[in-house]
Assembly symmetry: C2
Homo-oligomer: 355 residues x 2
């Protein structure tokens, strides 16, 4: 997609539209603001499949009562260092923010905390939540059961596994270092972006379930299986994350996962977990950060393979993207702008161009 097909919109504007849309669809103002802030962070950091792109679907689901607009999110402390959060089918961003706060509080007391979550929903990019403990001087570990099954078990042809993402965050002198990976070869949001922008997918992303032949047309992705990262390893990781983010919390996994792209009404019973580890219980926080900085410097300065211009570390793209988009705005494809205009008209809120 050429730049001519993109419209750059300041993130303050996209954020305001998102918040207004959520309020118009029935969310309390504070909740609408929180969701808008996290979705805008996704847009700023280049997680294009998780920002304002998701707004039309989220609004559809809110209006169909597929999300509970007034959830009673409860936190049960089940042991000194563990909690189980019941999201009451609220927006995933709200449920996970609450779970993350709880993990940080419990880890401050106990050195580590493991917080499981059930009855939640899609919460955006995994990196958002792994970064929260990292900003408090902690290691953050986050994983989730994805909201649709796009993968099969290794060798299988039935869609029984999600792209179940994993993120790990640690603090460093220059801000959190955050790894955010889907267990699929590519995130499904990227596939949606390709479809929306008319881009061809490389071979190796999707295979046809009957023939095993590659699929490269993103609009035909639904006919196939998304492949795992690292072959059987990614499939195995997706399975284990499904068991400990889903089954452990009494949340959906496998055959019980609802395709939330196809169904706006039914509760997804999404499961996540977040772990926070208080670094100071192992090594002084300043020592940890200066050691991370030293290693990062050494990795960046290392010799490169032929054809490689720069060494890139986890989170580099997020950081660069955030800086650039804060300056230049969030690039929105024109079809998405049209969708957002229609949504604004429907909700009787100010469209992007009038903000």
């Amino acid at each position: 997609m050429s730049n001519a097909d993109l419209v750059n919109v300041p993130s303050s504007v996209t954020r305001a539209l998102i918040a207004d849309a959520f309020v118009a669809a029935g969310l309390p103002a504070a909740d609408a603001e929180k969701c808008a802030a996290l979705m805008t962070e996704a847009d700023l950091t280049g997680a294009d499949g998780h920002g304002i792109f998701r707004l039309p679907q989220y609004i559809r689901r809110l209006r169909a009562r597929g999300f509970n607009a007034h959830p009673n999110i409860t936190v049960m402390r089940t042991a000194p260092a563990t909690a189980l959060v019941d999201g009451d089918n609220g927006m995933g961003h709200l449920v996970m923010s609450r779970a993350s706060d709880e993990a940080i509080t419990l880890a401050r007391e106990n050195g580590v905390a493991w917080v499981g979550v059930r009855r939640s929903n899609h919460a955006g990019p995994a990196g958002l939540y792994a970064e929260m403990p990292a900003r408090q001087g902690m290691v953050g570990l986050y994983a989730a059961v994805a909201n649709a099954n796009h993968m099969a078990v290794w060798g299988g042809a039935d869609l029984l596994l999600g792209t179940n993402p994993l993120a790990i965050g640690v603090p460093s002198g220059t801000g959190p270092l955050v790894l955010d990976i889907a267990t699929s070869i590519v995130a499904y949001g990227t596939v949606k972006k390709c479809a929306q922008r008319g881009l061809k997918m490389p071979e190796g992303w999707f295979v046809h379930a009957e023939t095993g032949a590659p699929i490269t047309d993103a609009n035909r992705a639904h006919e196939g299986l998304l492949l795992p990262m690292g072959e059987y390893k990614g499939a195995g990781l997706a399975l284990m994350i499904g068991l400990i983010a889903g089954v452990l919390n009494g949340a959906a996994f496998g055959r019980d996962v609802l395709d939330f792209n196809a169904d706006d009404k039914s509760a997804t019973n999404t499961g996540h977990f977040i772990v926070a580890v208080d670094i100071a219980r192992f090594v002084p926080l300043n020592t940890f950060m200066s050691e991370v900085d030293r290693h990062v410097r050494e990795l960046r300065a290392s010799k490169r393979l032929p054809g490689v211009a720069t060494i890139r570390l986890p989170g580099d793209r997020r950081g660069e993207c955030r800086a650039q988009r804060r300056r230049d705005g969030v690039p929105l494809p024109k079809p998405l702008v049209a969708q957002l205009d229609a949504l604004a008209a429907e909700l009787k809120i100010k469209p992007l161009r009038e903000r």
Copy 2:
């Protein structure tokens, strides 16, 4: 390698040889037995690069005082749910067994425990330790900084990352389900096995550091870079594991990692971590296990891609291998048997053939 080049030896015999060799090299009998048991479990479960195969190297290192034969392994409880284990440069199997016991005890009290380890050593396959909490009704998570850097950061050509493995174990009705993956495309033990058996490596495992061209001769692996699983994702995971299993515990990572294949004398300061999560704090253990069993049945019964005979799940190969090798013995390549004979003569212990 054909079967004619392999000698099947009962695991009771390999285990006894390992224990006798360790005692002859100066380990206390109970410690020798514990190491022998864990190395034999590696052999039985098909982790051929981590069992008796390692004995000559371990003995060399013990005799060179690279391992402390009489370590004072200490456990510091640094918070209610965390501990830091100092291995005093003892055998990794002993240090990690102690760390695992501590994690299980702390998780029973607090719901979760995170135990970091420093000044340890090579401890064999990751799956061994993730399985320990799983046998006690817990989720087990284990990772380690590998004992040599065979990988580069993504795009890099300097050996600054290890194959840093990750294992996750959960209980099920038919025994623990254990995922054990190196973050490299293949475990380095497998490369060593190829070299010893004269097998060619497939393209995509190693590239030449200067040219980026593939290397397929396992005996020339040291000239190249082992590639990560799933490209930048595996490299990112290896890096983050290095930070939280190494730097967090004051253990080695990056430039500080010693190649223990090339140096028998210096302390490696190996770092690991193990996490245990008490399942009953989230969902009744029986419910968890029966749900895991149901999902496993559904995954096994799923449709298969063309050419796939059976769906295989994490741990299947380990389980089948254990059953077969308990019955038929552990297959040892003849060059390894010759090495073990020479070792037995040197240590003045009974060789395999007289047991």
